[in-house]
Subunit: 337 residues, 2 copies
């Protein structure tokens, strides 16, 4: 199993990326193709004593920056680590690709270079979100801000396959975000999507989910358009931060409250770990012909290692092929109607 | 100042409504018209020793239930407390209307019976949300799931007037929810709304606000379509509940952690109070010809009293007229283009 890695993408590149890669080689038994500036990579591993065992370096002159316009960057920066890495994946030099670089560029690049499975025009960005009971898959998270009802139906299928094969959930519950439980709720997009999901035999659709129930983990796959998914994902991040920020001064008030914090410190740490999205790896781009994983821009070595673990699992499970089959069955059923 | 009150709406009607009304008469110096079943109201006040000083009762045979289809309920339940109350407002028997009943029915009823100011087709549902620093106004919160760009622009104007006149914010910062700071972000609706808000001279538009920054209170007025607003409002509720629910077992683990809780109990209580939406009253329907306030369905007496306080302030400030003027100026400017 060989994972191609964008060594130059993300806030902590290349150090955190290479550290995560070295850990992955040791712990997960994978081989790594690290794509990036050869000189910088060798200087970095020498300085920090990182082993290149199990890793090969694929040279790339430049890197795509977060401020680059995505489509333009993919078109013009042919020698960037992201474009070279995606091309290597398309040509079969590895089994999956991981990048902590620009989400927009990765989305465009994956569509154009790796291509999508039949029935999917543009891949969807899915995210594993820590929930009250269990983590759930939220999709689309912002790659497709405008959706058609058929796309939301395909999200249900792809999300279901992902939760089953990668997260080990036996019969994933699929729900549609909406402002009420009734089928008639929401915009015309959501009304139409509800009917398609309801009639879809390949998933376990449990109906609409109201936003207040999303964090409880009542559904394993939470389907919505990319604008709404982005709101859910980012608001969850912001709100958790705001709430935790408001707890801090409560514990810092005096000696007694500081002692109180010591008593609950362990519990708080475990709680923080549970709410830590890094534990679940990155955000998979679903619907690509081969696995592509977007790691968080601020990924540390642990997050990169977990994203590599996730990429490995996607490749082992032949995720793209299974999705293709499931989507084809759906299209056949639709054309029968 | 006379506030008309739907005595039969909400989970805790009529008891909590009448208690809140009696408190409002004492504390706020308002008069109340309590609309509802005369027999039930008199039985309730007798049983619980609530004074009817400063209150008159306007009899209504029936009540609109939460399960009733909104438009049909307003059309067919002519003798319901909500319809009779709204009619009383339209006819000038009071200065504002407060109901904890069905949001959908109140929205339809206010549009049809109280009518809207010029330039507003359907009133917007706004909500005062507790933020990191200060509370902010979120609108629309679900009354208008489909919006045109002009509607989002009008939300900016109405929200700005509300925050200024009712919440006492000198120059309210208005922001548009979007999945990025750049003007080009979002769906065509959001792209067009951004341009209108930017060109609007009557508000202080600070640009797009990313969902992660919404809870910090970085903006005083947060503008979005009703589908998105509903997601933000309900997800905030659900997430706060989930997070607090996860803190509980941390404090309950053993004697030490239970003692720790005692040390931070006061701080936690104040925090809960700050995050308690009941403190800020209800959700105003903005753009109605006269003030209409939707109190939370689960309102207790305190929430009802605060909703009455809010209704009083809206009426005192001639909110509807000021909104009308501001919207007219906007339309004049638009027609000049």
């Amino acid at each position: 199993m060989k994972i191609i890695l964008d060594a130059m993408g993300g806030d902590n590149a290349p150090l955190a990326i290479l550290q995560g890669a070295a850990d992955a080689v040791k712990e997960l038994g994978v081989q790594i193709v690290a794509v990036g500036d050869q000189k910088k990579i060798h200087a970095c591993v020498a300085e920090h004593g990182i082993s290149l065992d199990g890793m090969e370096v694929l040279h790339a002159d430049e890197a795509i920056e977060m401020c680059d316009e995505p489509a333009k960057a993919i078109r013009t920066k042919k020698n960037s680590s992201m474009v070279i890495g995606l091309r290597a994946l398309a040509e079969g030099q590895g089994d999956a690709f991981v990048s902590a670089g620009s989400t927009g560029a990765l989305h465009v690049g994956a569509s154009l270079i790796v291509r999508t499975v039949k029935g999917v025009k543009r891949p969807a960005l899915a995210s594993v979100v820590p929930g009250g009971e269990n983590p759930f898959l939220l999709m689309d998270c912002g790659a497709n801000v405008e959706c058609r009802p058929q796309m939301l139906n395909a999200f249900g299928v792809m999300g279901s396959v992902y939760m089953q094969k990668v997260m080990g959930v036996a019969q994933p519950k699929v729900a549609l975000v909406n402002n009420g439980a009734e089928e008639s709720k929401g915009t015309p997009l959501y009304q139409a999507a509800h009917q398609l999901l309801k009639a879809n035999p390949s998933i376990r659709f449990i109906g609409n989910i109201e936003p207040r129930d999303v964090p409880t983990g009542a559904a394993d796959v939470v389907v919505c358009d990319g604008f709404t998914g982005n709101v859910i994902l980012k608001l969850t991040e912001g709100l958790a931060k705001t709430l935790v920020g408001q707890l801090k001064p409560i514990f810092k008030r005096n000696l007694l409250t500081k002692l109180a914090f010591l008593a609950v410190k362990d519990g708080m740490k475990k709680f923080k770990q549970k709410m830590d999205a890094d534990e679940y790896g990155g955000a998979p781009l679903l619907g690509t012909a081969k696995p592509v994983i977007k790691a968080h821009g601020s990924s540390n070595a642990k997050a990169i290692k977990n994203a590599i673990r996730q990429a490995k699992k996607c490749a082992e499970m032949n995720l793209s092929e299974i999705m293709q089959e499931n989507l084809a069955a759906l299209q056949a059923a639709e054309s029968e109607v």
